[in-house]
Structures are given as structure tokens and as C-alpha cells.
């Protein structure tokens, strides 16, 4: 979003009073090797999935794998809130899920490689307990098994 001061009173109130989990400190693990040796993963909360997969329903805390070989035309978004402008992602998947850009970074040698799967969760969660305790760590394990050294997380 936009800066808080640009919002309507109603939106600002909703954002400032949103009951997100609050923490006093951050979990932190450093990179194990320099970025140019890292296999990078992409994880999004944009509610993306492959055509034919079960779409996300609101509040759904499961995840979908998006294989690197899935072409853009096979990727759909079932996070369809009217709170954001979908026409940006209609034009370019990379505006939310920048996998073409990450492939370019591999070609430039900025990162070593990309994971064989990326993952998506559903956005606009009000109580993401299951993601926090179960499905989030599960995706982390799957990515580590895939050789991931780090992940970029994108919202929508």
C-alpha cells in the first residue's frame, strides 16, 4: 500500500486496527553462502495456482506449488478481492510474481539458480495460525529439500 496518509479514513482505520500477530523480535537466520551461490525460491500470498488446481477460497491456509516449468498461461489467481487493482497482474504476472526477473538474475550471475517449485498461499488472512504453525514451515522444508538457500516473499 500506499502510504498510510494517502488512504481514506475508513481504510486507515482498518489498517491500523487490523489484528495481525505482533512480535517483539524477529526470527533470523543468515545466508549460508554468498548470494551468487544461492538457489532462490519465490513464495507469494497472491493466491496463485496452476490451472486445474483447486482455487483458493477466502481464508484458505493451504498452499499450492507452482512448478518452474509451468508457463504463465497456466497460472491463475483466485485471490480476487476488489481491494486491489487486478489489471496490473492481468498485464504482467511479474508485477506480483517476478519469476522472469529472477531468471534474468540467474543469467546475470546475481543468484546461482532457481528452485524447481515456487509456492503460493492465499492473501487477506485474518488469523493465519495454520500457516504459521503448519503449512508455512512445511513449504520451508520442501524448499530446503529442493536446495533453496533463500526465499523472496511477495504480497499482492
Amino acid at each position: 500500500m500506499p502510504r498510510i496518509e494517502d488512504l481514506s479514513d475508513v481504510q486507515r482505520h482498518a489498517v491500523l486496527n487490523f489484528a495481525c500477530f505482533e512480535y517483539d523480535s524477529s526470527p533470523f537466520v543468515p545466508l549460508r553462502e554468498p548470494l551468487q551461490n544461492v538457489r532462490l525460491a519465490l513464495v507469494t500470498t497472491a493466491g496463485l495456482h496452476c490451472r486445474g488446481d483447486r482455487p483458493f477460497s477466502p481464508g484458505d491456509q493451504s498452499y499450492r506449488a507452482i512448478p518452474a516449468h509451468a508457463p504463465d498461461r497456466d497460472i491463475l489467481q483466485s485471490h480476487n478481492s476488489i481491494g486491489f487493482d487486478r489489471t496490473a497482474i492481468y498485464r504482467d504476472l511479474n508485477v506480483t510474481f517476478p519469476r522472469d526477473r529472477l531468471l534474468e538474475l540467474v543469467q546475470q550471475g546475481v543468484i546461482a539458480s532457481r528452485t524447481s517449485n515456487d509456492y503460493s498461499f492465499m492473501g487477506a488472512q485474518t488469523n493465519p495460525k495454520r500457516i504459521l504453525e503448519e503449512t508455512g514451515p512445511e513449504v520451508a522444508r520442501l524448499l530446503l529439500e529442493d536446495g533453496a538457500g533463500a526465499a523472496i516473499l511477495t504480497p499482492t
Partner: protein
């Protein structure tokens, strides 16, 4: 994920929430919702955002940084209730016929990519989808479309609405490449019979107690 041992860096659209949830590495991007990488079809700009995010991996501890740079895009999206509703007698299915050529050209020009697909109904059969939604609004019986994935009817209606929007908006972007953001949403809600039908569907869902599904369609 970080606790499970995977270093992460998040792009965040809400600085105020990131300050409270405290992710390990976060880059606040002051862009509208839906624009996490800033600008569609602008690889150079998207790379600037990614470079700023990747830089946070070299910080020795938790970091919340801010990306400097602004983009165009609607901070507040035009909603159905904010515009003069479409008042001309017109069959919403005729909107589909009028936009079909543009829509198909859009898909062809984007390597077959389209946001249409969550309802599972092929676009050539959207006339039937319109009749189904009209019957739902009127409370009269209709032939049920084949609902894939065993999803509940209100959710199917939401996906059907989403597919009709995507069909219309992708067609419109082909027809008027100069239009962006709110110009497109304004057109959908104030100048099309499909937009009017979707606002009616949302009202009906709300009356039926399906607030969540309704909220995602129109307000």
C-alpha cells in the same frame, strides 16, 4: 519459514503491519495494492525493486528498509457504489458478444495467457453463465452450470463474477490500450450491463447472508 531455517526477505505493502509482525527482512514498497513490483511490463523498474530486496540479505540482522520510488496506480479503487450505475436496457450477454473479439485478441497477444479460468466455464459458454447469474439475482430456478472442484455455490458465483470481470477488462485493455487502473474499473461499473449485473449479484449474495462472497464481487 525463517524459523524452519530458510532465510527470507519480504516485500511489504503495509509498513505499519511489518512494524508489528517484524519479519526478518522486509522491504517496504510504497505502491498500491496489486503492484508489489511497482510497474507491470517494466523489467528495469522491477529489477530495481528486487535489487533493493536482495541487498537486505547482506544485513547482519533483522531489517526493515524502505524503497525510494513511486509508481502510478490506483491507491483507492473505484467501486460500483461510487459511480452512476449503467441505466440503459441492454442484455449483459450482448456485452460479451461486443467484447469477445477484443478479448480473444488480448489472449492471442499474450501468449495464450488470461486471468479467466477460475469458474472452470470456457468463455464461449459465458452467455449461459450470465443467464445463471440473472436467475440467481431474480431468485428463479436455472440450469446449474457444471461446478468444478466441488466448490460451494456462493464461491462458484464469486469465481464466475471474477471470470466475467477478467474477460471484460482484458477485452477493454485491448480495445483501449491507453486506459489504466481506475479508468478501467470506472468503465466496467458505469458503462457495462455486465458491471450492473455483478453489482446486483453482490447485493443478492449479501441478502442471502453470503457477505464474504459478496464483498469480493462489488461494493
Amino acid at each position: 519459514m525463517e524459523t524452519a531455517g530458510l532465510p527470507t526477505c519480504s516485500l511489504v505493502l503495509l509498513k505499519e503491519h511489518a512494524q508489528r509482525t517484524k519479519p526478518p527482512r522486509a522491504l517496504f514498497v510504497p505502491f498500491p495494492y496489486g503492484y508489489a513490483l511497482g510497474r507491470p511490463n517494466d523489467p528495469e523498474f522491477q529489477h530495481r525493486v528486487l535489487r533493493a530486496a536482495l541487498q537486505l540479505f547482506s544485513a547482519p540482522g533483522p531489517t526493515l528498509a524502505e524503497f525510494s520510488g513511486a509508481v502510478d496506480g490506483p491507491v483507492q479503487l473505484v467501486q460500483a457504489s461510487a459511480v452512476e450505475p449503467f441505466s440503459i436496457e441492454r442484455d449483459p450477454a450482448d456485452d460479451l458478444t461486443a467484447m469477445r473479439g477484443y478479448y480473444e485478441r488480448w489472449v492471442e497477444g499474450h501468449g495464450g495467457r488470461t486471468a479467466v479460468g477460475n469458474s472452470g466455464i470456457p468463455q464461449r459458454r459465458f452467455r449461459g453463465l450470465v443467464r445463471f447469474l440473472e436467475a440467481y439475482v431474480a431468485g428463479t430456478p436455472a440450469d446449474d452450470p457444471e461446478i468444478p472442484h466441488d466448490i460451494p455455490v456462493p464461491l462458484f458465483i464469486r469465481f464466475a463474477a471474477d471470470d466475467l470481470k477478467a474477460f471484460m477488462l482484458e477485452g477493454r485493455m485491448e480495445q483501449r490500450p491507453q486506459d489504466h487502473g481506475n479508468a478501467l474499473h470506472d468503465w466496467l461499473w458505469s458503462e457495462t450491463a455486465i458491471g450492473r449485473l455483478l453489482a446486483q449479484v453482490a447485493r443478492r449474495l449479501k441478502q442471502d447472508g453470503e457477505e464474504k462472497a459478496a464483498f469480493g464481487i462489488a461494493r
